[in-house]
């Protein structure tokens, strides 16, 4: 606005010639350097995705003869079909579809449960501070820095005690536990930014802990729920370590099954099938990423400022 006003007044008072900044040329040396560098780097970042797609559309003979960067001469979707429905891991030959549905069965309850628990935690911490609450919260945040490897085995024992070791339920609990620090922080900070007057008014009107949570806090914080969901969906889908430890081969999530298919030492390597399988596994987080756009960035920014 200031600029517009200044220009307007300059025009009206004296018409000596062009004022303000010289219009920059599109092909200035500076622009060529900046855009050139960015384009080259972008191509480098896109390269693996391109190579994966191209490889997955070629037949094996073409892969053996050709160049991994060249586009397919003859496009075939056979590798995709095989990766999804026929690829073998161990004795099972029903492809990645098994892993996909396992991952979905892990993902849905884990995301829901972890968000419910963490949002209630955050709500209790922001609005209903009780004695010791901050201490537990601090432990939780410090816990986020403890390498998972330290806590893996005690959790194996705990799950074995309650008979959940090797089950999907057990893995859902593990995801809920390890998602808790960052999500609780996310919700606590968000709820703390909602005006306290609203909370007090609801209290005066007689609303209790749950009443305020369901009628005021949840409707007012839908964006942060979406951010939490993005964070959890990508995080849990991409998990490998917990999947391989806390489930058994029949229930392995997609990442674990993918690794077993590609890195199996038996049989002839079918690189096109491997690449199709790899893309299939990356598809869910990629879709989330491209659809959510700015919210994804907000999610990781929130994840970045731990503490």
């Amino acid at each position: 606005m200031d600029n517009v006003n200044q220009n307007a007044s300059a025009v009206s008072t004296e018409m000596v010639g062009p004022r303000g900044q010289k219009p920059t040329k599109v092909f200035s040396r500076r622009n060529i350097m900046i855009y050139g560098t960015l384009i080259v780097i972008s191509l480098y970042y896109l390269l693996p995705l391109y190579v994966m797609v191209v490889t997955s559309l070629k037949g094996m003979p073409e892969i053996r003869l050709g160049n991994i960067f060249s586009p397919p001469v003859e496009i075939t979707f056979q590798p995709w079909v095989k990766a999804w429905a026929e690829a073998c891991t161990g004795l099972n030959c029903d492809g990645l579809s098994r892993g996909f549905f396992n991952s979905v069965r892990i993902l849905v309850p884990s995301v829901i449960l972890s968000i419910i628990i963490a949002s209630i935690n955050g709500y209790a911490l922001a609005n209903w501070r009780f004695k010791g609450a901050e201490t537990f919260f601090t432990i939780l945040i410090v816990g986020a820095f403890i390498p998972y490897q330290v806590m893996i085995y005690p959790i194996v024992i705990l799950l074995r005690e309650v008979g959940l070791y090797g089950s999907l339920t057990g893995l859902v609990i593990v995801h809920t536990i390890f998602g808790m620090p960052i999500l609780t922080l996310l919700f606590r900070n968000y709820f703390a930014s909602i005006p306290q007057e609203l909370f007090k008014a609801a209290r005066v009107d007689g609303a209790g802990f749950w009443g305020i949570y369901f009628r005021i806090m949840i409707p007012m914080s839908l964006p942060i729920f979406v951010v939490a969901m993005i964070l959890q969906v990508t995080g849990i889908w991409n998990d490998f370590l917990f999947g391989v430890i806390y489930t058994k081969p029949d229930l392995y999530p997609m990442t674990v099954q993918l690794n077993n298919i590609v890195n199996s030492t038996q049989g002839v390597k079918e690189y096109n099938v491997n690449m199709a399988a790899t893309i299939l596994t990356g598809l869910v987080p990629l879709l989330v990423y491209f659809i959510s756009g700015k919210l994804f960035v907000r999610g990781i920014a929130a994840g970045a400022v731990k503490g």
Binding site: S42, T55, L140, F145, Y153, L158, F209, L286, V288, G307
Partner: protein
């Protein structure tokens, strides 16, 4: 009086206290209890199952005389050092480029950040394919006429960790770029104007004025990269499986292998305790600087 007040205080916020039970359980049982348990059992001779036969530091003696562990530590040091340097450097340069009021900023950012949405398994497998000596870059360059071109990091024990580094950087630099970009956006426009008036060249403004102002962002980025480095596991499993031989082993893999493949729990506990110590060495000074500093004013 005091006795009469106590029940009232206990009832106060009872819903909040009940709602916080999962958090309290996680904090006390899993985070504190689990960590203490692992550290305690690292002093036992547990093999297939944990047992309470304490053997002092014997597990640590064995750990530090195991060549697999020493290679793991060396790899972690190399990977960590270069990962930290290059992540910060590349992340900052990319952020600075995107901050030049350019067009298509969103498009570039989307491209540079998408690998971060992919799992380490997908990343590792994609780069395993590109770095495959018989089909990938080496093959392509050789078939262009450079017969002596050698580039097979994943099959050469001396440089295998750099092959993993390439994939790790591809996956993770986008995140650091985003952080840095947020930091650059937080710098006051007037600083740039003042620097321009004083005739300070752009690169000097960045190094001597802007970067010192972004201290907080840099510290956050370093903590983030460092905690990622310690965790590196899936990437190695997918890309090399620790090979060739044991040339690309890392501590997190050592822990998993000891606990779940070679039935050597005690070694796993000792190795994971060493990982915990490493993290403490990094995080404690940071927490002190970050939170201790604020309290002092």
């Amino acid at each position: 009086m005091a006795a009469a007040r106590a029940p009232a205080r206990w009832h106060k916020n009872i819903s909040a206290k009940i709602a916080a039970i999962p958090m309290i359980t996680t904090a006390l049982v899993v985070f504190i209890g689990g960590t203490a348990w692992t550290v305690l059992y690292s002093f036992t001779s547990s093999k297939l199952l944990p047992k309470e036969k304490f053997v002092g530091l014997a597990q640590y003696d064995r750990l530090w005389s195991s060549s697999k562990w020493l290679i793991s530590i060396e790899n972690l040091a190399i990977y960590g050092f270069f990962s930290l340097i290059f992540s910060l450097l590349i992340g900052f340069v990319l952020a600075a480029l995107l901050d030049q009021k350019i067009r298509f900023e969103d498009t570039f950012r989307t491209i540079l950040l998408y690998p971060f949405a992919l799992s380490f398994i997908v990343t590792g497998l994609a780069w395993q394919w590109i770095l495959n000596p018989d089909f990938g870059i080496q093959h392509v360059v050789r078939s262009m006429g450079f017969e002596n071109f050698d580039f097979d990091p994943l099959y050469n024990p001396d440089i295998v960790i750099y092959g993993i580094l390439i994939a790790g950087l591809w996956q993770g630099t986008g995140l650091i770029m985003c952080l840095m970009l947020a930091g650059l956006r937080g710098i006051d426009e007037d600083i740039w104007k003042a620097a321009k008036i004083d005739g300070i060249p752009m690169w000097k403004t960045y190094i001597f004025i802007v970067i010192p102002m972004m201290r907080g962002i840099f510290i956050t980025a370093i903590v983030l990269i460092a905690s990622g480095i310690i965790k590196v596991y899936d990437l190695v499993v997918a890309q090399t499986g620790g090979g060739p031989g044991i040339a690309s082993e890392v501590p997190a893999k050592y822990v998993y292998d000891s606990m779940f493949l070679s039935q050597n729990l005690g070694q796993g506990f000792a190795a994971s305790t060493m990982m915990l110590v490493t993290v403490a060495i990094i995080v404690v000074p940071w927490a002190y600087l970050e939170f201790g500093g604020k309290r002092r004013g």
